[in-house]
């Protein structure tokens, strides 16, 4: 497929390298002269120098073909949002993935129609939470478009649901228990499953139901 990569920092250059290895056709845009020189040495003529938020630069990169995929991965969130918007709204690029550098800007991307985003900070924090669960609830996967989250909850001895049958637990609206992991084995949850201390419970929650689920499974803390 044809891919336009806007931004030649670590994310952009590594994505380009991998995409080329997979056999895809890539054009990369980088504004800074020093970075451009290094990238051109490695990738050759597929690197263009210019400001990827300028429509004429995007057009020279073939945005009108249009590419099957546009990666807006500069270090600037406003630039990434504008690049993705120009591609999607102006040139019918079907898939545009934008990098979010500051997770607080995530809401703006969503509001302005850029649903597919990647954020290193959020991913790293997710891993930190998984390794060092501070609140007993870990967000494993977020399906933004669907408004769903897969979360993992570690049941403690003092948890209000320890010893209860799953069928008897009053779960908050928009949440379901999926499975429990205990003694190295995973069991799918049905109404008769008894929740025990030490269980790692997987659940799926809709929208913002995760805090309510935490309260039900772990108590108010």
């Amino acid at each position: 497929m044809y891919v336009v990569v806007a931004g030649g920092g670590k994310v952009g250059s590594n994505s380009t390298r991998s995409l080329l290895e997979m056999g895809h056709e890539v054009t990369m845009i980088e504004q800074r002269p020093d970075r451009f020189a290094v990238l051109e040495e490695e990738f050759g003529s597929i690197v263009m120098r210019g400001d990827a938020t300028e429509i004429s630069v995007l057009e020279r990169a073939g945005i009108a073909r249009p590419p099957e995929l546009l990666l807006a991965v500069t270090g600037d969130d406003e630039d990434n949002l504008v690049i993705a918007q120009i591609g999607k709204e102006g040139y019918r690029v079907e898939k545009a993935i934008a990098r979010v550098n500051d997770p607080r800007n995530q809401q703006h991307f969503k509001l302005l129609g850029i649903k597919q985003t990647v954020s290193a900070t959020t991913s790293i924090l997710g891993l930190v939470e998984h390794e060092v669960p501070a609140h007993g609830l870990v967000r494993l996967l977020e399906l933004q478009e669907e408004g769903l989250e897969i979360v993992e909850v570690q049941i403690e001895p003092n948890s209000p649901v320890a010893g209860s049958r799953a069928g008897g637990i009053r779960l908050p609206e928009g949440s379901r228990l999926i499975s429990v992991f205990r003694h190295g084995r995973t069991e799918l949850v049905d109404d008769k499953t008894v929740i025990r201390p030490g269980d790692q419970v997987l659940a799926i929650v809709q929208d913002d139901a995760a805090p309510d689920l935490r309260k039900v499974l772990l108590g108010a803390r």
Binding site: T53, E54, I55, S56, D76, D77, E78, D79, L81, V82, I86, E89, G90, D102, R104, N105, Q107, H108, L111, L112
Partner: protein, 141 residues
């Protein structure tokens, strides 16, 4: 009537003062505290220090019940994003966004954002002035 001016540089500060002189309640927002100096010693409106991408800064500036907003920071893309956020999230009736790049100004204007492009204005005025003052090259030859 309440107005919020995001970006209090040469343009933003003059717009803020102009609106205040017309009787608007104006709050200016700028990342830099020194921008307050541009509003002059008699500034009676509001001033919030912070970045316009930060919704808590916007809300502190009163975007929730603003009738108009002018976005004129020194970054085109920052202005385009903030302008759309003010329009879509806070439903401000009149949002005007300064964009220096004519192509982007046109692109977003076609999609419902009220953009003002000083570069385009300068190009037009310069062309008109030259054409009005000199005989056209084709007529001279």
């Amino acid at each position: 009537m309440n107005a919020v001016v995001i970006g209090c540089g040469r343009v933003g500060s003059a717009v803020a003062k102009g609106l205040a002189a017309e009787g608007w309640d104006v709050t200016a927002v700028d990342e830099n505290e020194d921008a307050l100096l541009r509003l002059g010693p008699n500034w009676a409106g509001g001033f919030v220090i912070g970045h316009g991408m930060d919704t808590s800064v916007l809300e502190q500036a009163g975007v929730g019940d603003a009738d108009a907003a002018v976005v004129a920071t020194n970054g085109d893309n920052t202005n385009l994003v903030i302008g759309q956020v003010l329009q879509k999230r806070y439903a401000i009736g009149t949002v005007v966004v300064r964009v220096l790049d004519p192509a982007r100004a046109k692109f977003y204007a076609e999609r419902g954002l009220n953009t003002v492009c000083p570069t385009q204005t300068a190009i037009s005025v310069l062309l008109e002035t030259v054409q009005a003052g000199a005989p056209s090259p084709s007529a001279a030859s």
